[in-house]
Amino acid sequence: MTTATTEKMTFTDEGFQSLLSSITEPAWLTDQRKTAWNNFNDLPWPSNKDEEWMRTDIRLFKLDKFALGGSAATAASENVLADGVEVAASLKFQNGQCTVGQTLDQKWIDKGVIFGNLAELANEHGELIEKYLNKLVEPSIDRFSALHAATWTSGTFLYVPRNVIIEQPFHTSAVMSDGGCDFGHTLVVIEEGGEATLLAESASDAPESSGLHCGAIEVYVADRANLRYVNLQDWSQKVWHFAHQKSTVGRDANLQWTVGALGSRLAKVNQHVDLTGEGAQSHVNGVMFTENKQHLSYHTLQRHVAPHCISDFLYKAALQDSSRTVWRGMIAVDKDAQKTDGFQRNDNLLLSAKARADSIPGLEILADDVRCTHGSTSGRVDEELIFYAMARGFTRKEAIRAIVIGFFQQVFDRVTIPSVRDALGDAIARRVREYE
């Protein structure tokens, strides 16, 4: 698929038609879009009557303030995750338009590794992509998934063939400018016995830049495969962020997924991992740091389909000002998924009296021989801790910074990529302000 026009297209039937005529892509993909566009027209916007949206108010979100195919951002995209790291290949996105940074070495191409703009690769590798695209994240889930599936124009495709092991990480960075739209779709397929690392980050070009991200992530980790995946979003606090993210993990395969959620005005993210093969493992590490009036809502689902699997989700949030987080976690264990180890935990550190963290852990267990634990804590920084550090010469601010970074350390300890640990640590240290 290639985009031919830079004209602004609205989210109307007319706009959708002109989007279709501006792109060249396989017929199956266009058909997908049309079905999804019908879904979009049929479905209502979620409302606060829906259990999932009760705590997340999107009445101020107006889609008609945005348009597809906005102008390219002029600012350079960030690279904090792979700082000082030699990458296998990289992509840059500016308001959803993709350019290649570091190209993939020929030796990997010869082995069948594919990495690039999903939209372009859909023409070249249509058959392969058709097998996977929009199969995990179905367009009909809600109005956002439908909108995304109908109108996405770029994204990341990473394909690692059977038994190919790549040590160097892949890196993508996306930047949005004021009024920008990023409908990026990420599709990762690691075939049996393959191993890779993908570092993905996104940011705005300026703190005042508004924007809309309506995205989807689909991650396939086949039997015995191994993927380390990192998402860091640091958009401005004027960006709306809606995303569905889903992964399936096969027999004896391993997915380590780290999420850094710092930016956006309002985020509503559904993260879903299915453990479908016996002995599959998934470790999810989440770090959220909010300020001002940010609202971040993360809904995680760890579903055990096969027996003897391990899932371990840990989300930690620190909240400043009158910001708010919602974390709703669910461990679902199917009837046949005996000997499941399922863990979920959400800890929140309230750095202001006006901040609020809602934490709703849940279990749905149909098997009878499982070990599942869930828990959550929310509290303020203990003044006695601050005093203790101050009695050792720390200023109040230094004491709080140390305590907050320490609070997140438990998550960092689980991250096996040093550059990612550093990036997350630095980002958090920068955010800690005076604490009343």
Partner: protein, 269 residues
């Protein structure tokens, strides 16, 4: 150079409730003072107020460091001015490594003018020093990589406090039951370490229930606090008497203070 820490007619309240009712005490660098008294008499409070705990309100009197009031100084400024307290119950700071905490603390205390974000003392230099001090205290080097007081045994916590004392080298140190909750060997080790690190060099204010610590660190003065007031001051023989015979004589001799002290205890429970 900090030489004299002077507490003058100090009255302190917590949530409107008086705890200290006119404490006077003068501690010169190099001297060791024992502070003794029954439970609820105000020993720990005096230590915490000197250190600058925000929950306590000084309603009257003053604390002077070389003649200058420190009442308006935060705990961090007091630490940088050379005051230290080894806490009875040190706080755990999960996720913060002992070594990182100590390096930051040592830097700030040694460079009182340091601004936030300025360089810490060089890692190599710091490591060498902390390693020496740890071996002196018979601490496993692994200790430095653990999180501050997180999951420490009582003995480990107390040793960690002494390690901080050794690194920060304050002019004045309040040791609040640094020998409690330890077995006999650990008490001896703590007592000896404090002797090597601070006795005769720093001004020590030692709060203790045991005689071991004072046997290794003989005090020039012993103060008995009762009902929020120092009722008697003597030499090291006073400490010995109290260890042997308890507070009965003191209570009889100072019935008013004893009544206040007992009243406080009733209120506290």
């Amino acid at each position: 150079m900090s030489d004299v820490l002077e507490i003058k007619d100090l009255h302190v309240e917590i949530e409107g409730k008086p705890i200290l009712r006119g404490v006077n005490l003068k501690l010169t660098k190099g001297e060791t003072h024992a502070l003794m008294g029954p439970n609820g008499s105000g020993k720990s409070t005096l230590g915490l107020v000197i250190m600058g705990h925000p929950n306590y309100e000084v309603t009257q009197g003053d604390i002077l460091l070389n003649g200058e009031s420190i009442l308006e100084m935060g705990a961090d400024e007091r630490a940088r001015a050379g005051i230290f307290m080894a806490f009875q119950r040190p706080m755990a700071i999960p996720g913060v490594k002992m070594a990182d905490f100590l390096r930051h603390a040592t830097t700030n205390v040694r460079n009182p003018e340091r601004k936030e974000g300025e360089d810490l003392i060089p890692m190599r230099e710091f490591r060498k020093e902390v390693k020496e001090k740890m071996s002196q205290l018979q601490m496993d080097p692994e200790f430095a990589r653990r999180y501050v007081n997180d999951g420490f045994s009582g003995g480990e916590m107390k040793r960690a406090e002494i390690l901080q004392l050794a690194m920060l080298q304050p002019s004045f140190a309040i040791l609040d039951e640094t020998d409690s909750g330890l077995d006999a060997d650990a008490v001896r080790l703590a007592s000896q370490s404090i002797n090597e690190i601070g006795h005769g060099k720093m001004g020590l204010l030692v709060i203790t229930h045991h005689d071991k610590l004072l046997a290794h660190n003989p005090p020039e003065y012993t103060h008995v606090i009762l009902g929020g007031k120092i009722v008697e001051t003597g030499g090291k023989e006073l400490a010995e008497e109290l260890h042997e015979k308890g507070y009965e004589r003191i209570r009889e001799q100072y019935p008013d203070a004893a009544a206040v002290n007992d009243g406080e205890e009733v209120v506290a429970t």
